[in-house]
Structures are given as C-alpha cells and as structure tokens.
Symmetry: C2
Amino acid sequence: MKQFSVAMLGYGIAGKAFARILNQTHDEIMEKTGYDVKVVAITTGSRGSLYCMDGIDLAEATRQLEEDGHFDVNSTIYSTMSSMEVVETVDYDAVLELTPLNIETGLPAADHIRGALNRGKHAVSANKGPLAWYYRELRDLAKEKGVCFFYETTVMAGTPVFNMADNCLQYCKIDKIEGIFNATTNYILKEMAKGVPYEEILKAGREQGFMEADTSMDTKGWDATAKLTVLLNVLMDAGITPDMIDRTGIEEVTLEDIEAAKSRGNVIKLMCRGTIDENGNVIGKVAPEEIPATDVFADENLVAVVSLYTDLMGKLTMLQYGLETTQTGYGVFIDTVRILDNLK
Amino acid sequence: MKQFSVAMLGYGIAGKAFARILNQTHDEIMEKTGYDVKVVAITTGSRGSLYCMDGIDLAEATRQLEEDGHFDVNSTIYSTMSSMEVVETVDYDAVLELTPLNIETGLPAADHIRGALNRGKHAVSANKGPLAWYYRELRDLAKEKGVCFFYETTVMAGTPVFNMADNCLQYCKIDKIEGIFNATTNYILKEMAKGVPYEEILKAGREQGFMEADTSMDTKGWDATAKLTVLLNVLMDAGITPDMIDRTGIEEVTLEDIEAAKSRGNVIKLMCRGTIDENGNVIGKVAPEEIPATDVFADENLVAVVSLYTDLMGKLTMLQYGLETTQTGYGVFIDTVRILDNLK
C-alpha cells in the first residue's frame, strides 16, 4: 500500500466537495488502485492552514471552517504556511489549485502550478486563470517533467469536457466550439424572461449558493470569456488570452429585448463561440444572442452546455444540469483519479 | 515498430467507415503508439473473404465491393474462410464483430467473440446481440483472459457513452438511464408530425441510407430495446436480456395521436427508460410517450440522446447529431484505439 499525498490550496466550495467525495470513495480507490490517498496540507487565504504528512481528517477540517470560521489554531496540525510555501516545501505528490480566481492576471494560481510542476509534482487546477493566461507554457512544462496537469473543473464543473475529449475523441480534430458556460447569467436571463425583478433574481441566486456577492464578473461576460479561452486553448490549441476574445456581457440586455425576442419565438442567451478564421487563427466571441426557444441551448433547466464539432465524429453536445456543488468537487476528484490511473 | 493485426468480421457500413478512418489516421497512430495497425482478414456473408498477414489494402477492398459487388476471386489474397474459421485460426490481435444483428439470439456474433476471447484475443463488437444476450459471461471471460472487450458502437454509434462512463464517471453509481436510441423511429415520428405520408417517409429514409429495407425491427421497438438492454447491462450491471424489457413499438401511434399531443404542446417520442425497482432490480421500459415540445429530447435535429443519473456527478446528457456513417465507423475505431492504449 503506497500513500498518495495531496496538497490543497484553498478550501472553499470545490475543496469541501472534493473532500466529501474523497472520504466517500477512499477505500474503493485503495482497493482499485492500491493507493492510499491522503490530504497532507490545506491552505486558506485568511482562515489558517493545516499540515500533517499522516493525513488530515477532512470531515473535521470542514467542520472547523463551517462552525468556527477558522482552522483550530491550538491543533497540533495547525500551520501558518502560505500556499506558495506549501507548493515549494511540502512533500506532496499532487497539488490541487483551488484558490479564488484572478481573471485579469491568472496569478498567483499560475505560480502555484508552475512551482509544483517544476518540482516534478502533478497538478490539478479548478482555477481558470492559469489555463486562460499560461496554458501552453504549463502544458509544455508538465510534459517536459513527465507529470500530469488536469483542469476538468474549469469549464462546466465535473461535466467531462476535457477528459472526454482526451479519451473519447482521440485523433479527431475540433474546428468549432459553441456553448453556454456561465450559470449565473443563464439564470438571470431566464428569470428576467419570467418577469422577476432584478434584485429578487440576485437574492434568490445568492441564497441558492451559486451566485457571487459581486456578479459583475458574470454579467460583464468575463467568466464566460475565461472559460471559452480555456476551451479554445486546450481543444483547439489557440494560444490566446481572455483579452483577445470579442466580449459583450448581458448588462445592456433589457426586459424589452427579452420580450421582443419572445415575440419572435426566441430567447436571449449569453452564447460563446469559437471558430477558425480564414487565416487559420482561432477566434472567440462571447455575446448575448437570440436563439429559437425550441433549441436545445434554450432548455430552461440546463446550467451549461457545450457542442464540439469534429471531423471524424461530427457534432457532439453535452449538457450540464443541476447546480449541486458536488459536481464541482467531482471535477477535482476525477482529475486526481486520472493521475492515479497514469501511475499504474 | 510492432504490427497490430485486426480481423474484421463483416464489411458493411460500419466496416467501410472504420477502414476509411483507419487509412486516414494510420500514420498518426503509429507515431503516437508505436503500433502499425493492419487489417489481416475480412469476411463477408456472401461476397467472399480476404486474408493477408502483411495487411489488406482497405481502399481497394472497399472499391471491389462497391464497384464489383464481390471481392476479387482471382486475387492472391482472396479466401473462402468463414467468420468462425477466421476467429479460430488466424493470428490476429483483435477481432471486430461487424456482422448483421440477430436480435432474437445474439448468434453467431456471440460465438465469434467468445471464440476470440477464449484464444486470449481482444474483441470489439459493433453488434448489439452479444451484449444484449451474453454480456456478463463475455465481460467475465475477457477479464479472466486479461484482454479488452469494447462495444461503443452498439449504442449511439461513436457517441462515447461507454468510453465516457468508463473514464469520466469513475466511482459514480448510475441509478437511472433515459434516452431515445432508435434513429429510424425518431425520424418517422418527426416526419409524421409534419404530415408526410408514411410511404414517403420510408422512401426518404432509405434514400438517405440510414433506414433498413425492413423497418419492423425499429417500429416494433426491438432495436431500441436491444440498446436499452446493453446500456442497463453495462452501466447498471442489470444482467437482463431483451425479452425482459417492457416493450411497445410505434406501430399503434396514429396521426391523430400526434396531432392531439401537439395540441397539448407535446411531441411523441419512443422513450427508453431504465430504473431500479423497490426490490433493487434493474427494470427497463421502451414505449411511445408524450413529452413537452420544449424538452431537449424533443429537439428536431437530434438523432439520439441519453441521460445518465449519477450519485456523484448528478445528471449528464449527451446528444448525437447527424446520421453520417463515419460516426458508426468511429465507434469501432475508438474501441480499437482503446485496446492500443491498454497495451502501453
């Protein structure tokens, strides 16, 4: 029985959901892979850190944050290590980058991943920043060091976009991508169409836990833009950054626009599109668009959707339903499992 | 450079599409995996067989069947071997079972696969019969012999249902499956709703090449039933056979039914459903149902759709578009690629 040691940078929604799934599947993983997966370090921005090479009790860590708002400073495993100190000094096998997104720079998340890869450690990112700003560099570094670098959660949570493309669309070339990737604006537009006042929409979204206190990253289209950038970089080797995407948010969309669309049998969605232009360059666009109400993309219940256009397998569409945080945790979890599969 | 030898039983739509994709990707596969994939035997029911351990020219094989209707009996690689003789005597690495479906018994396809597995050879089945009737036995035999047994094409052509579940939904439990799996009835119901006379629908479907001369397997619900059986056996370990599915075809669906559904904002689809009953048994049902016209499953353009309900990843839906035969070929192709990946 070999220990597989994981360092978690950040312990928010994705981290706690990952911990829950890992606790639930730990013994099954051990039986299937022979690896005893243990989390040996957890860092947070302002709630302390934990460090224990024998493995941290994840249920207890979650309890401390939820009940006390801070890790127990009197615990023997309490630590004041920063994320970067963990990255550079702890003897982990894989780092999970779960810190908050900085969409304008991708930092310090990219530094964490670069630091881990440089030490020959595997890396998982739920943070879109490093992929949107530094994808090629990090991909090549991981390859050079012979380690894994996975990032399923960055687009559509645990819906297996990247894992599916890697395993199930081998030797296909993808030349077009369409999708709706931002759950918050999709929800806002849907509720606006029902006539719900804007403030009530935000209140309900926050109560359900999937909407940020500040929704401007969503309504200005930045979140969707970051996700489209990641998809185009990974699946179409675009080599682009978010500032190169033609971006329009939903802030200018009025109730009148929505009503007018409805009268034409349409709905308004924040569509993301990536194609190849006549010069062979990959170009991306994020903007509100009218689409037919009967279109799959218009489905009221869906959270996100992606269509991939391939040469050998035609068009393939995947839909994400439900805003359960477990899906976010599963994205991080399956990336960790993929690393174990690669060790065999 | 090592040769990987493939024996193809059957050379119809799926076989020819597989051959086309293999020709297109052969060099890239060699570069990526180090294997020189060659087809060393092809059998047909009444158009002769080919056998050459140095590899058959697939473009020429396709040309002979399309232009001459028979393999060239004067060719030095012409053979009169039957499928079973190839299975039992040829020195191949993997067999591709592409013979016509016998839905009532799964034979002789299951015998071909059993024969190959017993010799310690890998097997790919595009034929639903063996999966619907002998899944557990063949799965266990492959495991015992330490070889691969894949069957992506049996449900939704190359849409990666099984590959995706194997790789991307690890440690998830699936407790419900819903879908529309039969393209022919989906097309018939859609055209009926448009008011197209039944005979014209059949004529157009046959001209487009996806509809059989005899559509009774489709309209009686047998094809959908076989596919649902395969899904439930593989993804929910049901251990059932097609005769255990509660089956109703679309033969009793009238234009009046379709109009009445339309007046309620609904459409009629041949729905396939698998669930777990109160005794813990997996049960399946295939029957025409009214569903809302705004539902994703009602999309006019889709060919097939599946929703998987999981414990860790919620609900995941995949849509298949287009009736291109290349998708069928890709299912066989990706299964072959998975075998190569397992050899590494």
